[in-house]
Subunit: 229 residues, 2 copies
DNA sequence: CTCTAAGCTTGATAATTATCAAACGACGGA
DNA sequence: TCCGTCGTTTGATAATTATCAAGCTTAGAG
């Protein structure tokens, strides 16, 4: 593992304040692996062996039922995933696959559990991380149950733009059908909803989305701090 | 606080293995309070002062947006709630109100955080509890995004029946409109979906739901271990 | 015992979303 | 440069869900 990646991981809230010896212990047991586009990293129903961390590239978490599939989250660097399954040592509820070529750091679940027991700072960081993820899911569920598709899209655009520094322009890093699934709609309806948002100052072409009238978009989206936080 | 409630709380996975001194510390700072039906216990957007535990009665967790409201969970004894907000010391994302007269134990957030730092067993239990709640939410989100209303209802009936010991009969402990909101549908559609399930061996009258043909219901519901767990 | 209010059901209609089919367009390989 | 593939868009239609408006049922008040 190179210096750069080591530093990236070390800087994560999850590891930032862990004692050097314990961090070293975690890292010495870990693997950093490269995967091409479209590789399934984990499959729902299997038992966890490693805590995963997206170091580079992006990863889609998705769930299936009766032949249907839905995207639950899209992870960008640097983010851990399947923490809850590792902690409880229970089967994955979600699958994961790469949306781009990606680098994934994998820390053996046993090492995570061991350091958790020894290092109170790490334990606290794990709880904090999990609690944050829990809250993200509450927001996602409220988004899904309380809003129409067009509203979810409008708010997603506003959030994505905010996370990129309010440049009034968002570039998708994955296919539109993935965004559609993340937003709980079909690709066809994403297309129609994007067309609808033209009326509220949103232009899109290919993978670029441009906000030409942020206040009109906001009036339509009605963002809510307790959902879009 | 009476012996009975003390024992109930002590038996929770969250407290079961905590050292006696630390449990006492938590409890000595706690309040056990009775509330009538329909009382709002917490409001989304406010900051948490107490970890709450439903000791008796039932409690609805719900979220709102733009005048709409949706039930996120219905809690039965004995369950903690708003753990994630307490841990992160951030505003509630959900509101809570009693669905019946209820007894609620409230432990000051500061005490929870303090004992967490001192008692590794408690820390581990908190993480485990949070991870379980996280997984419950993943299931709820998959349920909502991957299934139709009728399927959600069918699977809900199967789960409720299973949690009452497979008697092929479920009694609602709250109004149907609450169940409708929990299932992400209007009361009108819950009514229609219940009527539809008549074709699959489900009879309902008032607050009683009877499963007359479990295998027919299962064929329709297609329960999934990774959603209905 | 009757009345009333609240919750539930039913019907009609509208909005939203999904599905199926076909056409379009951008990109990479021959 | 042309072709084929794949993702996207557009159109038509069906399914699902929400909304609005009555009626119905039932439990509690008087």
């Amino acid at each position: 593992m190179r210096q750069t990646e080591w530093k990236l991981v070390r800087a994560l809230p999850l590891f930032r304040n862990v004692k050097a010896a314990n961090f070293k212990k975690l890292m010495s047991a870990a693997f950093l692996q490269r995967f091409p586009y479209g590789v399934t990293l984990i499959r729902e129903g299997e038992l966890p062996d490693f805590l995963h961390i997206v170091v580079d590239g992006s990863v889609e978490m998705y769930g299936t039922d009766d032949g249907h599939e839905t995207t639950i989250d899209i992870l960008q660097p640097v983010t851990t995933f399947i923490l809850a399954a590792v902690i409880r040592d229970e089967v994955y509820l979600k699958s994961a696959r790469t949306l781009t070529p990606a680098q994934i750091l994998m820390i053996p679940a046993t090492a995570v559990r061991e350091v958790f027991g020894r290092d109170a700072t790490f334990a606290r960081a794990i709880v904090s991380e999990l609690a944050m993820r829990y809250r993200d899911l509450v927001r996602a569920l409220k988004d899904e149950k309380l809003r129409t598709g067009a509203q979810r899209l409008a708010n997603w655009i506003l959030r994505a733009d905010a996370s990129h520094g309010h440049r009034h322009s968002v570039e998708l890093e994955f296919d539109k059908r993935v965004l559609a699934s993340r937003l709980g709609m079909t690709p066809e309806n994403l297309s129609r909803n994007l067309a609808l948002l033209t009326n509220y100052g949103v232009k899109s072409s290919g993978r670029d989305i441009i906000i030409e009238d942020a206040s009109a978009l906001k009036r339509f989206a009605k963002p809510n701090a307790l959902i879009d936080g």
